[in-house]
Amino acid sequence: MREQPPEERIRNFDEVPYGYTPEEAIEEALRCLQCKNPACIQGCPVEIDIPGFVKFIAENKFRDGIVRLKEKNIMPAICGRVCPQEEQCEQVCIVGKKNEPVAIGRLERFLADWERSQGEMDIPRIPAPTGKKIAIVGAGPAGITAAADLARLGHHVEIFEALHEPGGVLVYGIPEFRLPKAIVFKEIDFLKKLGVKLHTDTVIGKIKSIDELLKEYDAVFLGTGAGLPWFMNVPGENLNGVYSANEYLTRANLMKAYLFPKYKTPIIKGRRVATVGGGNVAMDCARTALRLGAEKSILIYRRAREQMPAREEEIHHAEQEGVIFKLLSNPAAFHGSENGWVKEAECIKMKLGEPDESGRRRPVPIEGANFKVQVDVVIIAIGNSPNPLIPSTTPDIESSKWGTVITDPKTGKTSKKGVFAGGDVATGAATVILAMGAGKIAARGIHEYLKTGVW
């Protein structure tokens, strides 16, 4: 797919890949073998009829294609961009055994973008109201998906969002150059057209308890997402200029600090920015730093490139843009200036030892191999715990020792009657599509519960 050249795009926040033209999309779609037993569908957490929509593209029937796609996935413009297809549908694609797999994600994005360019989106037919009311807590990927599926079954759905904008991580976390916010808001508009009511600025657990919600609604879904960031507990982590990834990205994305001073939320831009971590969020931070004008954006990761949890595409984009990778390195301390600003990261060189419980080889420090990196901004992107607000205010919802809400993976049921959960609050930090998959599973679980009344 054609992209903005790296030297150009590091100076703007516009999207990196341009997307297919109709001709390119048809050509790509024609590569699909239309397998009798398509492995790709099983590879998809939301079970999209992939050969079905790809066939419509090949036949130049884009309208039919988008309808087929949206039967299973309310947010194709988002998923086409941020799903890790290389680990899911595309990984098991038969064409991929010998050649490049069919670019399912790009075709998905193409259809969604095509539909948006046509103006008004079609609203699916909604069955007669069931009279059941459902409260969704959190307007991120899990909540939005559950809301869409439940609304399409005729239930009355209301979403409660703590922030002033809906979208969750799609809006506060994922940068504009990877997922334009206009796309997210368009998909949320679609949700409103399905009859879903949205309440922003509403923190459930504070303004209303779960028990109060259960008096007004027949079921509650918790999709409260990420919580407090993890830090490394090394000296100097509270110096000025040291951010968590959540804070850095929230300032840049949700609060639009990249448009400062038109938007008033500041962000320390930094000439030499170090990001600690190796996941997608770390790549987003390192690439945002470049776009904010950093001369050097340095990524510090304690294992090797092969062990990075980030998507290959994200790592590749970061490399292309000139992010400097300091691999097998881990900060031991941050040193500050006299007035409390970070100026140096002291790192330990690591080597790979025996595999740990995650199956990845454990990094072990090499004695006496410390080195120093001059920095003026540091971003810690090593993950976060689930949001603490609901578990801490609802003692009868069981959570694990990691703070995640315990759910039945088949239905999304929690330990509290009428309450379901899914997404990062149940799994810990994961991907958008897994959260959407959990939203789908919970919607099925909720529908079943409301139909039968059996818990």
């Binding site: 002033h164 509270n238 804070e247 500041p266 409390g340 603490p388 607000l389």
Partner: protein, 271 residues
């Protein structure tokens, strides 16, 4: 979006703003705060809830006009909308029968201690409030605070009302002269709370301060409001904002407060 029903400059540069928010009024407790975005372009800022009226369904905030966001908020009038207003957030104050409680309020914190004084008094405490400003014309809510407390002790830098100096000077004097307190609670600027914590430490009086670090989401997600309490990283938005002043690492707090000074100046110039 919420509607402003009353807006008043209660002292030079200090504003009170009453907002229609019936659900919030029912849930508000002393020590809660709200996150406010005055208009679409502004920052999210935390503001302490000062008062509420469950019958009228309103809540009141008192704030100091100091940066770009509070300046914008100060420009709004009754009948205007506030772009975003979210709460109640944070943990409320611990309100028990402690015995004698000294409440120290400065700047926006004079409003911030008012409901705490009421609640503590109704729990049977003897409530002594300390209210301070540079001069008497900068004080506000004197009558309300006097009604809510057993006694209000004023301090002004120019000695136009009460003792000369600051509340923490007066509190220190009172402690030295042998006056007994079971608990001190302070709401106001960081430096005042730091001074109060320093002063009460040798007397062994448990001191709760209401921290006001920079916050972005205010709901336990971003980690901007972290501080070190008892050697551990804690988050003011969900673990606080009230902490034991003797356990706080004040060096970290005071450094972090200054982080955005330059940007604040640019924001105000380019409004």
């Amino acid at each position: 979006m919420v509607k402003i029903v009353e807006k008043e400059q209660i002292a030079p540069n200090v504003h009170s703003c009453t907002i229609e928010a019936p659900d919030l009024a029912r849930k508000a407790l002393p020590g809660h705060f709200v996150m406010v975005i005055p208009d679409k372009y502004s920052e999210r800022i935390p503001i302490t809830l000062s008062d509420w009226d469950t019958e009228k369904g309103t809540v009141t905030i008192v704030f100091l006009e100091i940066g770009a966001a509070t300046q914008r908020l100060a420009e709004l009038k009754a009948g205007d909308d506030i772009y975003s207003f979210t709460g109640p957030l944070g943990m409320p104050f611990e309100i028990e029968n402690f015995g004698t409680v000294g409440l120290v309020g400065g700047c926006y914190g004079i409003g911030g201690i008012y409901q705490a004084a009421k609640a503590l008094k109704s729990k049977g405490n003897k409530v002594i409030s300390y209210s301070e400003a540079r001069s008497s014309f900068l004080l506000y809510w004197n009558n309300k605070l006097e009604e809510a407390s057993h006694e209000v002790r004023y301090s002004t830098v120019d000695a136009s009302l009460g003792s000369r100096g600051h509340s923490h000077d007066l509190l220190e004097e009172n402690l030295r002269s042998g006056e007994h307190f079971d608990r001190i609670m302070a709401v106001g600027c960081t430096y005042m709370m730091y001074k109060v914590s320093l002063i009460t430490r040798p007397f062994g009086v448990k001191t709760i301060v209401s921290m006001n670090p920079v916050m972005i989401d205010g709901t336990g997600m971003c980690g901007a409001c972290r501080l070190v309490v008892g050697g551990e990283t804690r988050f003011a938005c969900v673990d606080g904002p009230h902490f034991d002043g003797h356990q706080i690492d004040w060096d970290v707090v005071l450094d972090r407060r200054r982080a955005y000074l330059e940007e604040e100046i640019i924001s105000k110039e380019r409004w």
